[in-house]
């Protein structure tokens, strides 16, 4: 179902406020990954706050989410807090000794994290396993896997893509955060990934694409993907790394850089907040 105008506006407003919270937390702790968290903001927020069936973090029938590009986990924690799965006050413990909120997703520490991640290239296989288990157990949940475009340079992703087409669980949706940038530079500078849709198609997948920062377009793409059962489906979400903060946009240098006081103030100015808020 397309998003109503009210829902769309509510999600857009939420994404804006999560972006502010994100930079506030990352500025405070002086560590963490802004670029890839900002590019995945609409994707993760639309899934968690609109699309996924998530009555409780341990409900066996819940939809599953695999954050294969694990470094974007701050945006996932913000969404888990929004769902009430972790207290909002806990967010500032991110990456600190003793916290449940690890620098990369940790399934045994954090309620609501379905799979651990960090080393890139493992999530699509893990998601496929979960989807196959769901089918065997006659559940009708969907398994979503979010991948980075740089991450797709890992050969293991393509072993998983091949296997997903063969075993076709019917409930697996991959999403590529296609921001064109990785750590040392752009994809084109470091290792061109070529036509990702064509690659997935040739591996036996159905491919969809959308503006990954348009909550309505992304929501529609998810609805469409859920209608596809004869093949696994991938949504290539066109995004901008560092989206929403002009000086971070498209810059590999903002992959994991600490946010200075000056940059924090500038970021908040752009997002329309104030440093004391």
């Amino acid at each position: 179902m397309p998003l109503t105008k009210e829902r769309r506006e509510a999600l857009e407003e939420l994404c804006l406020s999560l972006r502010k919270d994100l930079v506030t937390i990352l500025h405070r702790i002086q560590t963490g990954h802004p670029g890839g968290s900002l590019s995945a903001t609409e994707i993760i927020t639309t899934l968690y706050q609109e699309k996924m069936y998530l009555p409780a973090p341990d409900d066996p029938d819940r939809d599953r989410f695999v954050l294969s590009k694990g470094h974007a986990v701050p945006m996932l924690y913000l969404n888990l807090a929004e769902k009430g799965f972790i207290p909002k006050e806990e967010l500032l413990t991110l990456r600190q000794a003793g916290s449940r909120l690890q620098g990369h997703p940790c399934a045994h520490k954090t309620p609501g994290i379905d799979v651990s991640a960090g080393p890139l290239g493992l999530g699509l296989s893990a998601g496929l396993g979960m989807a196959l288990a769901g089918r065997l157990q006659k559940r009708n949940h969907t398994v979503y896997v979010l991948l980075g475009d740089g991450e797709l340079q890992e050969g293991g992703c393509w072993e998983a893509a091949m296997a997903a087409a063969k075993f076709n669980p019917g409930n697996l949706i991959a999403i590529v955060d296609h921001n064109g940038v990785q750590l040392d530079g752009t994809n084109d500078e470091i290792m061109p990934v070529g036509d990702l849709a064509a690659k997935f198609r040739s591996f036996g997948w159905e491919t969809l694409s959308c503006d990954g920062h348009d909550v309505s377009a992304f929501s529609d793409a998810v609805d469409q993907a859920k209608q596809i059962h004869d093949k696994p489906a991938v949504i290539i979400a066109e995004t901008v790394k560092g989206k929403g903060i002009s000086f971070m946009e498209g810059k590999n240098t903002w992959h994991g850089k600490p946010i200075s006081d000056v940059d924090y103030q500038a970021a908040l100015n752009e997002l329309g907040g104030d440093a004391n808020g």
Partner: protein, 311 residues
């Protein structure tokens, strides 16, 4: 206080320097060149630098091919990925055929502290140490890093070079005598020997100072080569001190502590206490999580005292 230089900065500078004098040296990188500092080599020698993207397995097999055709490849990525994702060609091609590939595992131990356990590297030594013919070197300061980078090129066969993100005090003079396979006694002592490697060498020196105040004389040795390990030095430590503590930023299974026990159990058995990781660590400030893992100077001193008192 001694000057601090991050091991990774010293490594990048040394690799570039090596590139200037040895044209057979090439470097491979898997999208962490700004972290490993292999980028310094890449900027100086773009034709001899191959950034393969996020593809450690491909990178390492490519290195085998380069070595088989006469080049000396230095392979760069995080220690944990090099000894997990890329371990297959290390075992099946590089160690098996004794190829001239130099495996540079950066961000080892807990040095990439905030990223958490997924980015820590606490079983890399065990993975490479068991491979026949693999030289395993783990450095503690900037001077030793440069020496090791150059020594690796001279050695025939595969080398694993364990590097770190951590800024470390420079303890060696430029003209230090670095010999692969020869540990270095940094401080004499007779009550106990603390054998350390990598960043833990500095913690061991701190511990020895604390012990001195309590009237305990601790020998400290930098075991920069884990394989082949300096058997003579280990036996001498056992005979001179009678008790040994090993300290490493690694699981207590399979690394320095295990190597020391293997030698001494067959030659000169004495009590050995192995300090290192017994479980996965977590995200946090580097010094804080080291302390939690029992790897601070004070923790080492405490364990040494206990061992001397016989409990």
């Amino acid at each position: 206080m001694a000057k601090q230089i991050a091991i990774r900065d010293a490594f990048g500078a040394a690799l570039k320097k090596l590139g200037e004098v040895n044209e057979r040296v090439v470097a491979l990188e898997a999208d962490v060149g700004n972290s490993s500092k292999s980028i310094l080599f890449g900027q100086a020698f773009p034709d001899r630098y191959f950034n393969v993207g996020i593809a450690e397995l491909n990178m390492t097999s490519m290195a085998a091919g380069l070595a088989l055709s006469g080049m000396i490849p230095y392979v760069n990525t995080f220690a944990t990925f090099l000894t997990s994702r890329a371990l297959d060609p290390v075992i099946s091609l590089i160690a098996y055929d004794h190829l001239d590939v130099k495996l540079c595992g950066t961000y080892s131990g807990l040095s990439d502290s905030f990223d958490g356990a997924s980015h820590h590297s606490i079983c890399d030594l065990s993975a490479v140490r068991s491979l026949p013919g693999m030289t395993v070197i783990s450095v503690c300061d900037a001077v030793e890093t440069e020496k090791a980078v150059f020594a690796a090129a001279e050695l025939s066969g595969p080398v694993y070079l364990r590097l770190s993100r951590a800024p470390a005090p420079v303890i060696y003079p430029e003209n230090m005598d670095f010999q692969v396979g020869k540990g270095i006694i940094l401080r004499e002592g007779s009550d106990i020997a603390i054998l350390a490697t990598g960043y833990m060498v500095h913690k061991a020196l701190e511990a020895a100072k604390m012990l001195e105040k309590k009237g305990i004389s601790a020998r400290v040795a930098d075991i920069h080569t884990i394989s082949p390990i300096d058997r003579d030095l280990l036996i001498d430590c056992a005979k001179t001190c009678g008790k040994i503590i090993t300290v490493e930023e690694h699981s207590i299974s399979g690394g320095l502590g295990s190597a020391v026990c293997e030698v001494l159990s067959e030659t000169c058995p004495v009590p050995v206490k192995r300090l290192g990781l017994t479980e996965y660590s977590e995200s946090g400030d580097y010094e804080e999580i080291l302390e939690k893992a029992g790897l601070s100077g004070a923790c080492i001193a405490e364990k040494a005292e206990k061992l001397i008192k016989g409990n």
